[in-house]
Amino acid sequence: MDQEQTVTGKSILRVDGPQKVRGEAKYAAEYNIPDLLHAYVVTASIAKGRILSIDLAAARRFPGVVEVLSHKNRPWFWPVSFLYKDAAGPPGKPFVPLDDDRVYFSGQPVALVIAENYEAARDAAALVKVTYKAEQHTTDLAASTAFKPRKRRIGVAPVPHPTGDADLAFAVAPLKIESTYTTSPENHHPMELFATTVKWGKIVTVYDKTQSPKSVELFLKVAFRLIGRKVRVVSTYVGGAFGLGLRPQQSVFLAVMAAKALERSVRLVLPRDHMFALGYRANAVQTVSLAADEQGRLQAVRHRAVAATSQFEDAQDPMLLFSASLYRCNNIKLTYELAKLDTVSPCDMRAPGAATGMFALESAMDELAYVLDMDPLALRLTNYTERDQSENRPFSSKALRECYALGSERFGWHKRSRAPRSMREDKELIGWGMATGAWEAAMSPAPARAKVMVRSDGKFEVTSSITDIGTGTYTILSQIAADTLETTMDRVVIRLGDSALPFNPIQGGSWTAATSGAAVQSACRKLKSTIRSRAKHTGVLGRGQGAELLSASALIDLLKLQRGRKLSATATMFSFPFGKKFSSATHAAVFAEVRVDEELSVVRVTRIVCAVAAGRILNPNTARSQIIGATVMGIGKALHEDAAYDHNLGRCMAHGFADYHIPTNADVYDIDVVFVDETDAEVSPLGVKGVGEIGVVAVAPAIANAIFHATGERMRHLPITIDRLARAGSR
């Protein structure tokens, strides 16, 4: 570090908080442009088949309607699918809205109504009459055939190779369990609706809800042949995304298509019900087999997962990533397969893969602990590993043991009586469960750039195209800049979320703080040395060499002496994922208390302690908020969230927050978040690991394990709804 860290590491309040509270922070749907047109999507009612006819006449006659587009009259598209590829897309053919008469999933866009106002577009959309020739569809994972994906998705770690002989070791081991776990599909549902406002002109400005303005810009330039035009994608504020904004979404595609066809400015806001057909956390069927010796040492780990995907892409996520590396074991066999469904492609959702895979692994560990009559935490400690055995290398840091210690102490785990149904108060059974969480800690595989410039008022302007999806990126980058430039936060002005600003990769994978943060730090260091060398030449150096030189007045003088020459620096941060000597991961230990009414199966999650090891914490305030939010999401995954399909209709029947339940305030009791000290000089230049995903991973298994401890019922399907629990209890 250059100097004393005066703001980094402190709980600085969000720098964008005041704008958000005052309603000044503009989101994609809030840009008003003269003569703006409004679009509304007509969606398919069948899951698979062909559009036989589409009658647009009534919609066209509707007052205020400007145009109705379908596959029959849409503008020309590239007829080849690879030109619609995006940085986060899996192998396969990306879905292209209004491409042809094929229906791939229920809720698919089949027409777009564009009108002078939103209401006209929406009301005319209801008048579009579509007839279909339906074909036999499958939306039921249990009824679909599993296969091994032929092409691996770029950016997703390969499934670790088998080691030893897990089948044999499992067969001969004295103590073992084998269980199958299933999960329902979940939807991301950030609070902000997916929306795009396109300002059409010589420069095409696209205000879009995305986690990557740069990749949307690139996508639009290629897909819509806008190479000759300047395209700028602006996502100054993003009201949550959770992964659904990693790929250019249907909204931006359709809005830009309409703008280009009409040469007008267009806005498209997808209503909540349409957001169910944008992507989902893949539901999966997983079988975990664990075997141990009498001391609880793991002898075999087998984990097979079959995850849902669409007919047109092989979506893949790192569901088994930690099954080979979390615990010490010499015999490991992992199998990852997909099954094609007539749905939209699954899309990365907070801790993609891991949150589902770890539910199975950590439930199985709990089951094994009961077979061994061992404390579940003791079983984890018995199998603790300091090395990543799947890569055969050490971890750059791993303070999971400290997470276990601190978390269990704050929770009071030692007071737990081991037997199921052994703790109760009045009519409620009390259960205490725990689980381990892990997530990759990595720099982005793509470079990140940042620029810092001295403004005429002596303040520093930091710019980067990275978005802030509500996580606190504005704040932490400002802190890093202020400390590196040896100044206070009020002299740092920050601009993010604009593809015209220096290149940054997708905001995902928990790598933004480490990667974009390092780029900002590097740019600020470069600027400092530029200032020093310029000061030498211009003679301003007489004022001192340290902080005095970086004062506003000194910099204003320097700018004057330079006669219009700018004072700025740009830095690029690269990360080489190959040839690494270390594995890096964030870890967490989650302890949960549930109270279950014995007769009525009503579950309350009354207490959660989440101890996190995530390297250096830049801002405990924003980091803690991320973990709390993720914990609430984990409660939803455990108990509520279910994008329920009617398999006869092939249609998701959840259409809004009335039927897609997420936790309410009443469902959330005490959440205690604690970060353990973890120093890591290897993982990233700032020592940062990222906290975006780690909070969600262990929550659902900890709750499921607590429910077992309370009731004696092993719940192997998520969400654990009252019907499932009641049925289990009445067996």
């Binding site: 209801a126 009519k427 108990l639 009617d646 029947m653 009443a666 009252i722 019907d723 049925r727």
Partner: protein, 339 residues
């Protein structure tokens, strides 16, 4: 949303007249359900008659000791009304169990009586539904039905009535005062909502052009015990999987002297069985008797593919609510622990 004509009624007579003049007209009060349904094209009235100017916003004690609540009184106003809080705490409790504070502030009691089912197929115009589009079919029968009816359903419809307030009103034995072109009539709450039968599109026994004026609550029961227990998919802001409204009086000999029990979330209407209630009269308020009552109340239950658990859960819920009432520890709607 289908475009519609907006009419604002200045008087009750004018509202009734507007109803008879305009085919496919709907009355607009709080709009918390109707506007939703219109946005999703589930309800497509050609005329909206706004009745918010009508003089139906009063709560008055009646000469015989009952209460008359105007149709436009909001749910919140009822729940916090001192007379209701003191003498009809079951009603206040049931209202607090439903929706959110914002919705309760906007929703009216008349509108609550008229709210439609939350069956997801009813709400989705791209799927068949006999209630929304008679004759189109009922996918819930063979599809997602974990929260559908176990009592009183028909081949055509397995939807449930979603109200909490109406379950309490059924137990209290409220009467609905309505007015139509032929004058005023009163309908016992038990007869206000109907079973789906062959015409699931009809939720109530209101006839054409009738408008709800008041809800009449019968005279206060002295020393009664009560509880409203609602079981749902999360601890707040969800429709009931099953709910039970219990009104009990227990005499000096520790025997049940009055028992009014209604179930919500199980049928097309709040479910009562007075024959089963009679079973409790004169007998001790004991678990054995409550169990026996619950079995009789739920006799005739039929499970669909996914909602078998509701029969047993309804049984346990009603027994618990009876225990809560008998022990004078009614379920709190604020502490989410069931006790």
């Amino acid at each position: 949303m289908k475009r519609f004509t907006y009419v604002r009624a200045a008087s009750i007579d004018q509202a009734i007249e507007s109803l008879s003049v305009h085919a496919d007209a709907k009355l607009l009060a709080g709009g918390t359900n109707l506007i939703d349904l219109m946005k999703y094209d589930v309800s497509t009235p050609t005329t909206i008659i706004d009745i918010n100017d009508l003089p139906l916003r009063e709560i008055n004690e009646t000469a015989d000791g009952g209460l008359r609540v105007g149709a436009l009184v909001t749910n919140s106003e009822v729940a916090i009304h001192p007379f209701v809080a003191r003498h009809y705490p079951l009603l206040a409790s049931a209202i607090f169990a439903g929706a959110s504070a914002q919705l309760r502030n906007a929703a009216t009691v008349g509108g609550n009586l008229m709210q439609r089912t939350r069956c997801p197929y009813f709400y989705d115009v791209l799927t068949p539904c006999n209630k929304r589009a008679p004759g189109s079919g009922c996918p819930a029968r063979t599809g997602l039905n974990r929260n559908h009816a176990i009592l009183g359903a028909s081949q055509l419809c397995v939807a449930t009535h979603p109200s909490d307030m109406c379950v309490a009103l059924a137990a209290i034995g409220a009467t609905i005062i309505v007015q139509g072109p032929n004058g005023v009539r009163s309908i016992p709450l038990a007869d206000f909502h109907r079973l789906p039968g062959d015409s699931p599109e009809k939720d109530t026994t209101l006839v054409d052009d009738e408008i709800i004026l008041d809800i009449f609550l019968p005279p206060v029961l002295e020393h009664h015990r009560y509880s409203y227990l609602k079981i749902r998919d999360r601890l707040s802001y969800a429709f009931a999987i099953v709910s039970a409204a219990v009104l009990l009086t227990i005499n000096d000999e520790a025997a049940v002297s009055l028992a009014h029990i209604a179930l919500g979330g199980v049928a097309h209407k709040p479910w009562r069985n007075t024959a089963a209630e009679a079973l409790l009269i004169g007998r001790p308020a004991s678990r054995v008797n409550f169990d026996q009552f619950a079995s009789m109340l739920l006799s005739g239950s039929v499970a669909l593919s996914e909602n078998d658990f509701k029969i047993d859960l309804a049984h346990r819920t009603v027994v618990r609510a009876l225990e809560q009432a008998a022990s004078r520890t009614p379920q709190s709607q604020f502490d989410k622990r069931v006790h």
